[in-house]
Subunit: 234 residues, 2 copies
DNA sequence: GCAAAAGTGTTATACGTACACCCATGA
DNA sequence: TCATGGGTGTACGTATAACACTTTTGC
């Protein structure tokens, strides 16, 4: 590996924006930094990529090591952040991942005793200075990606338990988009999007009223027709 | 910069998928590799990121150095490729960019005498082994991104000269998507998408028939309503 | 005039929205 | 039987697709 010394040396890290819907709130998993720089600040879970380790594998490993989230249902590459001074310790390029998980209950730190916990996305975005490095920008990009992807990709089901009702799915959309949706029309839309939902047997009555049918995530990789956000209100 | 030696050392490169529509064909800008590895194979223009250089700046610089394309109209980050063995020389992570340019005529090599030329996208995708490294995968991802982005983002105008007719714009869609579109309905759709097109004065008659009005790219950052591909035919 | 391409009109159908209404349960 | 939420029906307005038709040029 002679040639690497002929070129600038980089460290490569991964950071994971792990989103969930918990307790009627759209939340993100953050750790409290124990070391310098930005000691004591909140940050996205993440860390250095190992030699011979794939980028996505590194993202999953770091998430598991630093938090109690062992296997998010969904993870995708978001973008790469490499501004020259983004890390005061040296030239570091970070590959950010977006993960979505169902409600996993209270978070605990991982094996390296990091302090991990869920935070309301809206509150963190409103106070970007509370996050270390450029993590507020990464979080903002991730949230926008998630909001957009709900429209044309069956991402909402990744926030739900394995079996869920259409009302629970609608709740995901409402919380992530910050809007209210007509239950009747939402019902028809998701059921007409081929492959979005598979019927599961049985019903459930969480919270009174007529029991709702249960569904599982279907095989579709995109939603036709898409469920569009209102553009008027933006 | 003591700490970088505590962690695996990476090289970081950028690769640029520069797409255009030229001579009634959807094409990509490739260089012929002059050195090892993959000597003589075709590859995406790209190279190592310099110290203190932003990633997008590096992409623009490498494109300009290796080809005659000095300033693509549009460039965006596509994705990052970092499989452990993607470069036999050592651990390298490549941040890929997607660029779109209007017809720039024949390509010539850049200052470092690389051999740059335009190639039909379909032909290159059909022979993925002709490309070095994992560049066939990067190209495939870029083409899919471009096709998808035509639907909801005013990307097609980036492939046109500063002033263009609606038929020329439609031709971009037809070549990139590989479909035929109804000229009448396309006309109304793009004109009704607020901010997609600004009227320019004057008309042109390239190729007989009634002269067409000229337009410039408008300020819109997204298309409402989107122009959707046919999902039936896929 | 004729061919060719630009651009407009027209109509049937599909789709989205709003909201009324019925259904199935627990209390 | 009432409250609650699940789920369906329906009507109306808007968007889309197909294609006929008019406009404006070159030859």
């Amino acid at each position: 590996m002679v040639y690497t010394s002929d070129y600038p040396i980089f460290s490569v890290t991964v950071d994971v924006v792990c989103l969930t819907v918990r307790d009627d709130r759209f939340q993100v998993l953050l750790i409290r930094r124990g070391g310098s720089p930005h000691k004591g600040k909140l940050a996205l879970p993440g860390g250095f990529v190992h030699e011979n380790e794939d980028l996505e594998a590194a993202a999953r490993r770091e998430l598991a090591e630093e938090t109690s989230v062992r296997a998010p249902r969904y993870i995708e590459q978001l973008a790469t952040y490499g501004a020259p001074r983004r890390d005061p310790r040296g030239r570091t390029v970070s590959v950010a991942y977006l993960a979505a998980a169902p409600d996993l209950g209270e978070a605990t730190g991982g094996s390296d005793a990091a302090d991990a916990s869920w935070h309301d996305v809206g509150e963190v975005l409103a106070r970007p200075k509370t996050l270390a490095f450029d993590h507020a920008q990464i979080l903002a990009d991730a949230v926008e990606r998630a909001r957009a992807k709900l429209e044309y990709f069956p991402l909402a089901a990744e926030f739900c338990p394995p079996e869920f009702t259409i009302a629970e799915l609608r709740h995901i959309y409402e919380l992530v988009w910050g809007t209210n949706l007509d239950p009747a029309n939402f019902h028809r839309k998701v059921r007409s999007a081929k492959g979005f939902l598979d019927s599961a047997d049985g019903t459930t009555a969480r919270g009174g009223g007529r029991p709702a049918r249960l569904f599982r995530k279907g095989p579709a990789r995109e939603l036709h027709p898409p469920l569009m956000r209102d553009r008027e209100s933006r």
